[in-house]
């Protein structure tokens, strides 16, 4: 049977854990608000860029150079998977669900005989894949800190990706990230980044954009614009994904810490009850000893 002191120490440690989780929840909540605002603010740009691209994309035939971002290399043998996780833990299943999904994706691609490379973003996925498939990691990015350094952090990733792509290191690039749905829900999503998947984003616009395209004037000309637009689109998509993942991380952490706080509360209640019962038992025992001692005299 534990002594009173043992229980007291245990209660104290749970109380201080609860304090920490409460504080972390508050911090996550305020960070969530900020990064959510950023994610919302970045939306107009990416949606308009998509509109522009979809009206241009239909006009592009196959070609060399930058156009390849749109049309692809013509192969699909080499894959580049970019899992986007957080740099820190303590956010529930946020990181592990990304790692699990990526792992599954890699395995199923390998089963089909494809070569797969990885480019993890975020400490948690880098560490995970460093353990399980180290030789397939071609590059990794940590401490990007998208909510402070903004667009530049996305540029780093995007430049590296395009560098590898134009050197023929891979044919297809897929992002795996947590899509921010609400503060408590994040959805693990796969998005094909290279070659650009226009069919999905522009299904509805396509009909009217076809005749709209006919009367657009291009300055300097269609190809030059497309050449500028495509790399930018890659960066913007990455930027959007980083922001979503950032907001999702804080949301997940908030939910996880909320749960932890509640559990700690329950634990404290249970322990306090146990403490009181034990104390009562000791008192009763002592009383019995005194009384029986007095009786025997």
């Amino acid at each position: 049977m534990p002594s009173l002191k043992d229980i007291k120490t245990q209660i104290n440690s749970v109380v201080s854990t609860k304090k920490i989780t409460t504080a972390m929840k508050m911090v996550a909540a305020s960070k969530l608000r900020r990064s959510q605002e950023k994610a919302v603010a970045a939306r107009p740009y990416s949606s308009r860029l998509e509109e522009m691209l979809s009206s241009l994309a239909s006009s592009a035939a196959s070609g060399e150079g930058i156009i390849k971002l749109l049309t692809g290399t013509g192969n699909d043998q080499n894959y580049m998977i970019v899992p986007v996780s957080a740099d820190r833990g303590l956010c529930g299943g946020f990181n592990s669900s990304i790692n699990r999904e990526t792992f599954k994706l890699v395995k199923s691609l390998e089963k089909d005989g494809k070569n797969v490379q990885l480019m993890p973003v975020g400490k948690k996925s880098r560490d995970f894949f460093n353990r399980v498939m180290k030789d397939q990691i071609s590059e990794s990015f940590i401490d990007l800190n998208v909510s402070n350094s903004g667009y530049d952090s996305a540029l780093q990733v995007s430049n590296k990706l395009q560098d590898l792509y134009f050197n023929g290191k891979f044919d297809k690039c897929i992002l795996v990230f947590n899509k921010f749905i609400s503060a408590i829900t994040q959805d693990v999503t796969q998005q094909q980044l290279i070659p650009l998947d226009v069919s999905e984003s522009s299904k509805e616009v396509k009909e009217d954009s076809n005749d709209a395209k006919a009367i657009y004037d291009y300055e300097p000309d269609e190809e030059t614009i497309l050449k500028d637009l495509l790399p930018k689109n890659v960066s913007i998509q990455i930027f959007k994904v980083l922001l979503e993942s950032d907001a999702g991380e804080h949301g997940a952490r908030m939910a996880a810490m909320d749960n932890a706080t509640r559990n700690a509360g329950e634990m404290i209640d249970g322990l306090t009850l146990k403490y009181n019962r034990t104390r009562q038992a000791f008192i009763t025992k002592e009383l019995i000893e005194i009384i029986s001692g007095a009786e025997s005299i």
Binding site: A41, P44, S55, Y151, Y216, D217, Y218, E219, L229
Partner: protein, 132 residues
């Protein structure tokens, strides 16, 4: 008089979203003015000034953009810019220092930044289009 709706968007946020009487856009092949009812144009931009005028041609706002794209149709003008500064928030001394720092570097990125910084300085000093 009619107005045209104008959006100025940077990757980080929506900077300007309102009706305007006229906009002057620094297109790659030269500046062009956009009035309501402009024909459809898609253009990439060079570093320069975006000037926004009200209905009676008074200057509402002046921005510096470091590049990007513009899409114009008769009702709407959208500029997707890489980075945007409002002209009157720019400071000459800061830009001059930036130019000095970049001048000594040799790589391509620094050169690009240098030309943007020079354009910024030009934009700050020129007073074209301020009254039309």
């Amino acid at each position: 008089m009619a107005t045209i709706s104008f959006d100025l968007v940077s990757p980080e946020n929506l900077i300007f979203n309102d009706e305007a009487g006229m906009i002057i856009v620094p297109g790659k092949d030269g500046d062009f003015g956009v009035l309501p009812g402009h024909s459809k144009v898609m253009s990439s931009l060079r570093p320069g000034r975006v000037m926004v005028y009200g209905e009676d041609k008074n200057l509402l706002k002046a921005f510096f953009v470091s590049g990007g794209f513009a899409e114009v149709n008769p009702e709407k003008c959208i500029i997707l810019a890489e980075s945007v500064n409002e002209i009157n928030t720019l400071e000459k001394s800061v830009i001059e220092k930036e130019i000095q720092d970049l001048d000594s570097e040799e790589n391509d990125i620094a050169k690009e930044q240098l030309s943007i910084a020079r354009a910024k300085l030009n934009a700050l000093e020129s007073n074209f289009y301020e009254k039309i």
